[in-house]
């Protein structure tokens, strides 16, 4: 555990709770999938909680993030509500996107989450554009662009990093290196060094243990503050791990990743367990309090999913709504 910048119990507990909420959300979503209650596929964030939480805890609701296909963690960490999220995953009208987006497009504009994206790297421009707005309109806001190690293969990243560097935009490129791009190890698809790539564009780059929420948060708070002052952009590589397969259906994965490797990460580097242990060791919370948080979150998730299961689908008349702003029904328009 990195040294905590200040001893702020409330902040710690909020971060801990958020990580637990993400884990609970994912476990529940996985169950939904396994019991064939969820339409389509979804990508689990479990294991990477400290990244989303450590970074988003350094942001305000007015700061923007863009997310990925593995986006539930970012959505929760940025303030998302489990009930509305489950509704979206089940395609219900109460979902964040009225069921139109689903897991891969979940967005929560009220908390500054500009959305998950099913195009790998697809939101790199969007995050950079949000930072351009911040600069042009002098809002003092910051944008964080989350993406995976695999996404570093998209040329778009280098195009937007170049412009962000030239224009000194308040954007932080947060690369969650979980060691895999689908069914392939990162070494096989990424030559050289990820941080050096950013540095070559004149961007200050950092590498941090993505399983250590305090380390992530300390770095994020520093960079966010500096970005607000016009010292951005920044690049951060976060070393992390996904516990599940690439998506919920990726069950037999021995051919690309050993069970031992997975077990080892869970045993030694679980971000929630380790942070909990630290909180206890530092005397910030008791073991019982941690258990209580776990129980409360479990309840929250159970209620949220029950609500979502019972919720209504959008009426058929919505199918051609929201194609164009200002146009009620697109089919009558085009």
């Amino acid at each position: 555990m990195a040294e905590a910048p200040t001893h702020n119990t409330e902040d710690y507990l909020r971060m801990y709770r958020q990580m637990v909420r993400i884990r609970a959300f994912e476990d529940t979503a996985n169950q939904l999938y396994l019991s064939a209650k969820m339409p389509g596929l979804t990508h689990m964030y479990s294991g990477q909680e400290a990244v989303a939480v450590g970074i988003c805890a350094a942001l305000t609701d007015d700061d923007r993030i863009t997310s990925t296909h593995r986006g539930h963690g970012h959505c929760v960490a940025k303030g998302g509500d489990l009930k509305t999220m489950f509704c979206e995953l089940l395609g219900k009208a109460e979902g964040y996107c009225r069921g139109k987006g689903g897991s891969m497009h979940i967005a929560d504009q009220s908390h500054g989450n500009l959305g998950a994206n099913a195009i790998v790297g697809g939101s790199m421009g969007i995050a950079t554009g949000a930072a351009l707005t911040a600069k042009l309109r002098e809002t003092g806001h910051v944008a964080v662009c989350f993406f995976g190690d695999g996404a570093t293969a998209q040329g778009l990243l280098y195009e937007v990093m170049n412009m962000a560097a030239l224009w000194r935009l308040p954007v932080i490129y947060a690369c969650e290196n979980n060691g895999y791009s689908e069914y392939t190890r990162t070494e096989e698809i990424a030559a050289g060094s990820l941080t050096a790539r950013a540095e070559a564009f004149g961007i200050e780059a950092h590498r941090v243990d993505g399983q250590d929420v305090l380390a992530v948060n300390a770095l994020a708070r520093d960079l966010v503050e500096r970005a607000r002052r016009g010292e951005g952009p920044f690049f951060v590589e976060l070393e992390t791990y996904r516990y599940h397969g690439h998506h919920v259906g990726d069950i037999n994965r021995d051919y690309y990743r050993s069970k031992d490797e997975e077990a080892e990460w869970k045993r030694v580097r679980d971000p929630i367990v380790n942070f909990g242990t630290w909180l206890e060791a530092e005397g910030i919370v008791s073991a019982d309090e941690l258990v209580a948080i776990g129980e409360a979150v479990k309840d929250e998730a159970a209620q949220a999913v029950a609500h979502a299961e019972a919720a209504e689908y959008p009426p058929g008349s919505e199918v051609d709504m929201h194609v164009y702003k200002g146009v009620d029904h697109a089919l009558a328009y085009i």
Binding site: K100, G125, A131, E159, M163
Partner: protein, 332 residues
């Protein structure tokens, strides 16, 4: 009050007026600032609005379109300058997977009020990668609106509407028309999307042209009128939304139609319009709806070949003649 203005000037005025009106409007693209674009359409804007609002970018089309999408989502109204319409291929993901779908995917929460202005048109001896007219590609994608100004007048009015629209709009200017003049009112005006303009009234046949093909249609109509054939010329002005009613009404009146667009003919704009006319006016038609598009070949460099690939007034007039005589033919 009207005065003659070039299409280039009309676009420039539209953008300047909207930038004065709304501080969130800004320009982004390659060499848009000091150079005012290679076509000089944006000359003078950086002097008035500064480099903060007229932003030169590196040659990163996907990147700066993506940046525009994000900027638009968060409270600004970017106008992206894409130097040649042929570069649309580079930005299709950001335009069609992101900009076009955000509003829908977010269930109506995240809209993208941006304008992508680009160009089209062959016969400039610019060869296969600088001469394409790719409007069909974007017209196919729900969530995008597509405007095709046919003169300085339309260029100004449609651009102003586009900038105020809350959705992504793609505007295609014909790069060969930048110096063409037309009467443009001194006063402010906007041209609503989805309203076709009847450019010439007539009773025997309807010629539907987009962009510079309106001129081709008008010239054909002129030639036909000398032979006693009265052609109605209609400019849809926007492909999405399409003013189907005006087109259908005309065809019901004339019973014959030719559709002309400078994009490739195969799987392009003309097929859609012809199919809609056939659906809606079938029992009024005396002959099949004919179509002219760019020849279905990459645009050749050699002047001797390039000129063969675009629709001409002569060919359109000839097809119209044959239709009006009731002869069964195939379109060129």
């Amino acid at each position: 009050m009207s005065r003659e203005t070039t299409l280039s000037k009309a676009v420039n005025e539209a953008i300047a007026e909207e930038m004065r009106r709304d501080p969130t409007v800004f320009l982004l693209g390659e060499d848009v600032a000091e150079a005012g674009t290679p076509f000089k359409v944006l000359s003078g804007l950086v002097e008035e609005f500064g480099t903060g609002r007229v932003i030169d970018t590196p040659i990163s089309e996907p990147g700066f379109v993506g940046i525009a999408v994000g900027a638009a989502m968060t409270g600004t109204r970017p106008i992206v300058d894409l130097m040649f319409g042929d570069f649309l291929y580079l930005v299709m993901d950001q335009l069609c997977n992101q900009a076009a779908k955000s509003y829908y995917m977010s269930g109506g929460k995240l809209n993208v009020p941006m304008v992508l202005r680009t160009n089209m048109g062959a016969t400039r001896r610019s060869a296969a990668q600088h001469s394409q007219s790719l409007q069909a590609l974007v017209a196919h994608i729900p969530g995008l609106k597509v405007a095709m100004p046919s003169s300085a007048y339309e260029a100004k009015g449609l651009m102003k509407t586009a900038i105020r629209d809350d959705n992504p709009v793609v505007i295609f200017e014909d790069k060969l028309m930048y110096q063409d003049k037309a009467p443009v009112p001194e006063e402010e005006y906007l041209i609503p999307f989805g309203e076709a303009a009847i450019k010439r009234e007539g009773g025997d046949i309807t010629l539907i042209g987009t962009s510079s093909m309106v001129q081709v249609a008008l010239k054909a109509a002129e030639a036909l009128s000398a032979e006693g054939i009265s052609a109605e010329v209609i400019d849809p002005r926007t492909l999405v939304p399409l003013d189907e009613e005006t087109l259908v009404r005309s065809v019901k009146k004339t019973s014959r139609a030719i559709v002309i667009d400078e994009g490739h003919r195969n799987y392009g704009v003309t097929g859609e319009i012809a199919a809609r006319l056939n659906e809606r006016a079938f029992y009024h038609l005396d002959a099949p709806v004919l179509r002219f598009g760019a020849m279905d070949v990459p645009v050749p460099f050699s002047p001797a070949l390039e000129d063969l690939t675009v629709p001409t007034p002569e060919a359109v007039a000839q097809a119209a003649r044959t239709l009006c005589r009731g002869e069964l033919i195939h379109a060129a």
